[in-house]
């Protein structure tokens, strides 16, 4: 760490992390309440950020309120560190937080900001996962009034949401929700877990790491604390299922690049129209490639 940041002077950290200190304290107070009330959408005064909402400003404000010069930040978008959105966010944090390191390796990161995925490698205690959330309220599909939704959340009343879910299942004979599957936290609040696939939900359940979710437009922060139940809504006769990536013969598909058959896969269509699969988590794919084919592995 740069010894310059050890200066016990107020000036030493002036402007670190873009947000002013009042904004950071407000976000920090909201984070602690969000952890104390698992799954509750804690309101905060979202600030204007120098990028359009929808580019992860909710997640970014969380990251900026958390980050210090001793952190190693990883930013993921669609599972990859090198997508345009991830690169832009990472550059913004690097620019405004001098001294902080970035990394593409899940295991090396202290702080991970992500959209669409939770890394394949289980997170450890004291790693922090920040998820960007476009639509924070799982009840919005059954109730348009925010005041009534707040009461339903407070009472833990999700009867209408469950009915809606069940109707879908009866109609299509299958869980049709691919992303944002409603998930009950610590036996009370049901959250929209952000656009992660169903595949990632078991990783939230009693995880060692803290997960914070931020919605910039809706000005809400919520949390899944470590070692906390996160249960996707389900029914006795229709259990919750994750994507299983089986081919017509019932075999588990594997990543065409690294060979892993225990990861979330993206479908690729080749020039000849042939389908293949590849890990969506690019760091995991690199890691598996290095383990399985040390000769072919890209230098990482």
């Amino acid at each position: 760490m740069n010894p310059g940041y050890e200066l016990p002077l107020e000036e030493a950290g002036y402007s670190f992390g873009f947000l002013d200190e009042y904004a950071k304290r407000e976000v920090r107070r909201a984070i602690l309440k969000a952890i104390s009330i698992p799954g509750y959408q804690t309101p905060y005064a979202s600030r204007e950020m120098p990028m359009g909402r929808g580019f992860g400003t909710g997640g970014l404000q969380l990251t900026l309120a958390l980050v210090g010069p001793e952190d190693r930040l990883k930013v993921i978008d669609q599972g990859a560190d090198d997508s345009v959105n991830a690169v832009n966010l990472r550059h913004f944090v690097e620019m405004t937080c001098p001294g902080m390191d970035t990394t593409e390796h899940t295991r090396a990161a202290t702080l991970i900001q992500s959209r669409h995925r939770i890394p394949e490698v289980p997170l450890r205690e004291n790693q922090i996962l920040v998820l960007q959330v476009p639509y924070p309220d799982a009840l919005v599909v059954v109730e348009s009034s925010e005041a009534r939704r707040k009461t339903m959340h407070g009472e833990g009343d999700y009867a209408r949401l469950l009915t809606r879910l069940y109707e879908d299942i009866v109609r299509f004979d299958e869980i049709t929700i691919a992303h944002r599957y409603p998930t009950r936290i610590a036996g009370h609040y049901v959250i929209d877990p952000s656009p992660i696939p169903r595949y990632d939900l078991p990783k939230l359940h009693r995880a060692a790491a803290l997960t914070l979710l931020g919605a910039g437009r809706e000005k809400k922060i919520y949390a899944v604390p470590p070692y906390t139940d996160a249960e996707p809504l389900a029914f006795d006769d229709v259990p919750f299922r994750i994507e299983d990536f089986r081919d017509a013969a019932g075999r588990r598909c594997a990543c065409a690049r690294c060979g892993a058959s225990d990861s979330f896969l993206d479908e690729l269509i080749g020039d000849d129209g042939a389908k293949s699969w590849q890990c969506s988590d690019s760091d995991y794919c690199n890691e598996q490639l290095a383990v399985r084919n040390p000769q072919e592995a890209v230098h990482i």
Partner: protein, 182 residues
């Protein structure tokens, strides 16, 4: 510690870099209830408070200079966002517990105890705790635990505690169940 060093140390709790570090300790304390972290009461107040919060100090534990630096609104303990109180005497107020719709309006109580890590053992369980964890607290009137259980009986409403001795603290969010140990 020399007088100069201690003066600088005190000033530094008002600086952004120190507050970022203290906040990460707070984050860890709330994420993993019962684990003891390092920070003093003034450092916690400096990190959490400013002119946008209300603060009650019924036992006069906050120094006049810290009040001035914080700029927090003085409020009665029954209404304040944050309450600083002595843990070795009976609670003499009824803190805000929030509402069903806005449970985050429940107070955060910073409770001054004699010593963390030594004393009566509390057995904690709940979110953030893998199984159960024991936290030893010296100088905590058991009446606080009884009142806490009453205030937190109607989740999601409730109050969140930070126990703090001279240089250390531990958090007890409202979700934590506490059992005494003989």
């Amino acid at each position: 510690m020399s007088e100069t060093a201690s003066l600088l140390d005190h000033q530094s709790i008002w600086g952004p870099m120190a507050q970022q570090r203290v906040f990460r300790c707070l984050l860890e304390a709330f994420s993993y209830p019962g684990r003891i972290q390092s920070a003093s009461l003034p450092a916690l107040l400096a990190t959490l408070g400013d002119s946008e919060i209300s603060l009650a100090d019924p036992d006069e534990l906050v120094a006049a200079d810290d009040w001035r630096r914080l700029g927090a609104r003085r409020e009665a303990a029954d209404k304040a966002n944050f309450v600083v109180a002595r843990g070795d005497i009976d609670p003499a107020f009824q803190p805000a517990i929030g509402t069903l719709e806005s449970p985050e309006q429940g107070a955060t109580i910073l409770l001054r105890v004699r010593k963390l890590g030594r004393g009566a053992k509390l057995k904690l369980s709940g979110p953030g705790i893998q199984d159960a964890i024991k936290l030893a607290v010296g100088g905590l009137d058991p009446a606080w635990l009884e009142r806490r259980a009453q205030w937190n009986a109607g989740f999601p409403m409730g109050v969140d505690f930070i126990l703090v001795d001279g240089e250390q603290f531990a958090a007890l969010p409202r979700t934590v169940s506490i059992a005494g140990e003989a």
